[in-house]
Symmetry: C2
Subunit: 301 residues, 2 copies
Amino acid sequence: MIHVVDPDFEKRLGEVGDRITVAIDQLIPPASGPEAQLMRAMRHGALGQGKRLRPFIAIEVGRMFGAQEKSLLRAAAALECVHAYSLIHDDLPCMDDDDIRRGQPTVHKAFDEATAVLAGDALLTLAFEIMASPETHRDAVMRCRLIERMAAAAGPRGMVGGQMIDMNPETGAEEPLQVLTRMQRLKTGAMISFAGEVGALLGGAQEHERQAIAGYTNDLGLAFQIVDDLLDVEGDAETLGKAVDKDREAGKVNFVTLLGVEGAQGQVRFLAAQAKQHLASFGNRATSLLQTVDFVLNRRH
Amino acid sequence: MIHVVDPDFEKRLGEVGDRITVAIDQLIPPASGPEAQLMRAMRHGALGQGKRLRPFIAIEVGRMFGAQEKSLLRAAAALECVHAYSLIHDDLPCMDDDDIRRGQPTVHKAFDEATAVLAGDALLTLAFEIMASPETHRDAVMRCRLIERMAAAAGPRGMVGGQMIDMNPETGAEEPLQVLTRMQRLKTGAMISFAGEVGALLGGAQEHERQAIAGYTNDLGLAFQIVDDLLDVEGDAETLGKAVDKDREAGKVNFVTLLGVEGAQGQVRFLAAQAKQHLASFGNRATSLLQTVDFVLNRRH
């Protein structure tokens, strides 16, 4: 990939990431009482060196539509709690069995399996508590809409359903590429799309604007996953902060095993161009979101 | 225990239980697509032969205050989804490692561990989706309040925190009975109290009425837990539908190991009387809630 990421963009991404980290730290209860280990495990899982891509998308889309910063920050923190919970549970021995995440021991390695299950449960629950609070938005109708959409994106016909397919797909008559595409759309696509929705809803975007954002996040989410599969083959464990070539070793299909390296790279380029095209009508206001596409293409971890 | 449970009460409890089962069955998505196993596991975990005590409390309290039946049923179904998720995760090998629940194989035995983690996650997420929907109540402020209270009752300073204490308590300077009481209050008490709140909120109860209900559910929840500990010692596995004397074998303290059998029985009688006293001002309207106390005292599983 030949795109170059603007250093100002990386700074902007880092600033949003830092604000999200601070916000989540404040929203997780203090580690006190006989249940204190739970809060320590929640922090371990949620305050690591993540890219904070989903909250960044939520906040940048929201800024484009003039949403209030405080609402954006809290809603973005809630969705990042959902993402953090999903990583903790996906890393469990009974799931992907990963010991390292973002260069740190996964929660079940730093603590134990029971604590990891509970820390994930608690972060998911906290996400809904954050979203429902009047501090997130003055209008309860808006809060309920965000909660309904978040639950749909994270639930059985969203992220959790995608992880179920990843674990034990019932293929029936469907082609492997069909199953894989559905898996990706649910497992990673749904929450990336929800990030865009958060910004669009809080910014009061018009229907055609919401559709443009949905098209953008849809393409970006799929590109993100294919890059992930390419990194699984091409990356090295040190840069990536996690084990590589896991899919091939596990005998799993992914976009690279199905399309080949060149086919997958071509698909990423196509999706990137299409994602940017969805933003054409926003002109310069979408600069940061356009750069996000390049960032996703260039990522090395 | 010498109380006799009214057969009409058992019928009423059974009817509410059946309605809850039907409602949850309709709210879980159909088992279709390559993620179908997830929905089957959700049904396995949520549609078993539970007592449906929490939704029953929610509905009976709500009826006493004249709440709408449809709102009560949906909110009660949501809270039962939270309860079902907690049982699925508590039964996992890394937690209580139970193979049997309500006389049936637990979800991780009927399916596998990964599916059990995901089915629990999905039921928790679904619970919030149900609560946030305009079908549950026309007023979004009410829906958000229910969601905030549900998240607080289920989260790190509620049910999940209680399970953390049960797994790995940090005792510090606290007495064992203090830690145990906090564990119970969080692990089982918080959601039983939330059940009462659901009915009181949806029924528009006054502040003093809400406090009376809170006192009632607080005592009932603690009595419920002590009876549980007594059954763990006195019960037999066949009636109970699960393994017995697990706490002693695991070297755990519970109310019976700390208070003795007679001490625990005395505490249950005291709490039962106190729970009923909280309902005195409601007169005959509280008959069903009074009978619930006797039901909890007489339960054999």
